[in-house]
């Protein structure tokens, strides 16, 4: 069975051109870029080229690019360095819908004496700038938010957030893992001080990430050791990963102008599902959204059961339901949006890539109504199921903290 991969916000297929670019660095060019011989030196040259492509994708300078092992490392590093840069400030502002690699760092920092404000989001997943303005003080060391949410694709007003952060003298870090390669980025015209991206979300392999650090920022290294990355991130370079990400960035730069293709396919999928299936809703802002993501809540049925049904057809998606995570609680993002439980547990995210075809989208449209109908026939809940625990079930989930 051929796989229809619509889970690109989880990870992406490595572009065949990326693999081709990497392969020599897994075989003949195994030199260490730090070595003082031509054999290692030519690897160093390849890394400089890769860095240049990434700088171009971010609209940044090459010296502002630090290679890391993943998005999580970049986010951890960014938060720690921002706090170290202004040690007298003890307040952090983030949002309730961040990735766990930001939320869990913030929770730990709270135990270490920092105060953290978790900005709420509205039912469309958007933050309120007035809440940010009210929360920020001269004690705020860092404002850290995602550029776009991984589950809903909702895009935050980054430059407006940055302007507020800058006015208060706080560092501004942005987790752009879901955005790089999907929306144009230009660090030189931005208020962003620190920005995270991850290779495997843009058709490079897993195990390579980037932290952009604005020139002049008082950076403190997270990993200490050798002088790699100009002493800002020790550890022998993941050469094949860096070369792969360089190639992926080069391709992404070129492909950005074709993003409307993905948007069209996403809309075809979304409108197709909404018109074919009753009692379902889009989760997230209708327009302030990534071009490739749709998150839809199918009422009265449970997401994991939908995923296993889709799996029968080779269709890969994901869900914010509790049973998917194994954590017993549904997605913290959808809960923060205050959606009813019937939407939370029945939410499915489809995330497309440039490899997605119209035929694949049409296949989903073909099988999805049958899947939803079958599960609804199994379910004791229906649109008119009055009585049974209805009041409690339909209530709105409490905001996550």
């Amino acid at each position: 069975m051929t796989v229809i991969y619509l889970d690109n916000n989880a990870t992406t297929k490595v572009d065949p051109a990326v693999i081709d670019a990497m392969l020599p660095y897994l075989s003949e060019y195994y030199g260490n870029p730090s070595s003082m011989h031509t054999f290692g030196g030519q690897v160093g040259k390849a890394i400089r080229d890769a860095r240049s492509h990434i700088a171009q994708l971010l609209g940044a300078e090459e010296s502002e690019i630090i290679f890391t092992s993943c998005g999580t490392e970049s986010n951890n590093t960014a938060i720690r360095t921002a706090l170290a840069a202004q040690p007298d400030r003890r307040h952090i502002i983030t949002t309730q819908v961040e990735h766990p690699c930001v939320l869990n760092v913030c929770k730990q920092l709270e135990k270490q004496g920092y105060t953290v404000t978790y900005l709420s989001v509205d039912w469309q997943g958007q933050i309120d700038l007035l809440e940010l303005e009210a929360a920020i003080t001269g004690n705020t060391a860092l404002v850290t938010t995602m550029y776009a949410n991984n589950e809903t694709g909702v895009v935050f007003p980054i430059e407006q957030i940055g302007a507020i952060a800058k006015a208060a003298g706080a560092t501004f870090h942005v987790d752009a893992v879901q955005v790089a390669g999907k929306l144009p980025l230009s660090m030189k015209d931005s208020t962003i001080d620190l920005l995270t991206i991850s290779g495997h979300k843009l058709h490079a392999p897993k195990g390579i990430g980037v932290l952009y650090v604005r020139r002049g920022f008082r950076f403190r290294a997270f990993l200490l050791g050798g002088h790699q990355e100009r002493g800002r991130r020790a550890g022998t370079e993941n050469v094949p990963g860096i070369i792969g990400l360089g190639k992926a960035a080069e391709i992404a730069n070129f492909e950005l102008k074709y993003m409307h293709r993905e948007t069209r396919l996403r809309d075809r999928l979304e409108q197709g599902l909404l018109s074919r299936i009753a009692d379902c809703e889009i989760n997230g802002h209708p327009t302030q959204r990534l071009p490739n993501t749709t998150n839809i809540g199918f009422k009265y049925i449970e997401g994991e059961a939908i995923l296993f049904s889709l799996n029968q057809y080779g269709i890969c998606a994901s869900s914010g339901s509790a049973c998917t995570s194994g954590s017993l609680e549904p997605s913290h993002v959808l809960r923060a949006m205050g959606l009813p439980y019937t939407i939370l547990h029945g939410s499915i995210r489809f995330s497309l890539s440039r490899f997605t075809t119209e035929a694949e989208v049409d296949r989903v449209l073909e099988v999805m109504p049958g899947i939803v109908n079958r599960l609804r026939e199994l379910s004791p809940f229906t649109s008119d199921s009055a009585g049974w625990l209805q009041e409690r079930d339909m209530t709105i989930a409490g905001a996550a903290t």
Partner: protein, 294 residues
Amino acid sequence: MWDYTEKVLDLFYNPKNQGAIAADNESGIAVVFGEVGSIACGDALRLHLKIEIAQDKILDARFQTFGCTSAIASSSALTELIKGLTLDEALKITNREIADYLGGLPEAKMHCSVMGQEALEAAIYKYRGIEVEHHEEEEGALVCRCFGISEPKIRRVIIENDLTTVEQVSNYIKAGGGCGSCLAGIEDLIQAIQAEKAATSARVNAELAIAQDYRPLTTLQKINLIQQVLTEEVRPVLLADGGDVELYDVKDDVVQVILKGACGSCSSSTTTLKIAIESRLKERVLPSLVVEAV
């Protein structure tokens, strides 16, 4: 991705006995349903039973389930397991048997099998006019507020499945899987139950060894031992279900007990008597014992 067995996937993709049973007022037949869970919890099961009143027998069982793959498969498995059983026989079905029927469930999905067992009890208790919820609220404090789970329920699942960690308890009945503020309480409960169990078996074994090695039990020893087993092993299980038992008298090998609480009015009390009390006393005290209710 969950590692489901073939049987789970088969019953998910091709479920048996889905749907409701319409009450058609056939004489001698009762139709009843039991419910557990809710949309808020992420899974819910409505189990429908068609009961032949004279024989107390399940003629048909059907399910409606809101939930994941394993919740749907567990519901279907339950209906297959109980069709044709008498209500007393059906009440003996444990969540473990549902899981076994499916060739096992992932640890984190064991709560799906517990949901099946609870819906079955809910349906049968409803048919018999026993109010389960009432007992729980009165007799047990709510431990897990996120999922609304009381202490007797947690005790029962720990005892019946011999659970030793908080994580297992969350996997089996979700308790502790939400905000996590009750984790310490569940931990204490597990320790208490494990301690009770260890103490009981140590003492009973010691006394059994004395009894078997030297001479037959004296009447006094026998009564003491029976009292002890009832207090430490039988009553905790009955209490978890809102029932209770008291030792009335012992005449030779006949143990007379008074069934109390839910057990007193429960029509499955014969089962309780034979399974929960007599077999336990036979095993722990004397194989020749017979238990009767007075």
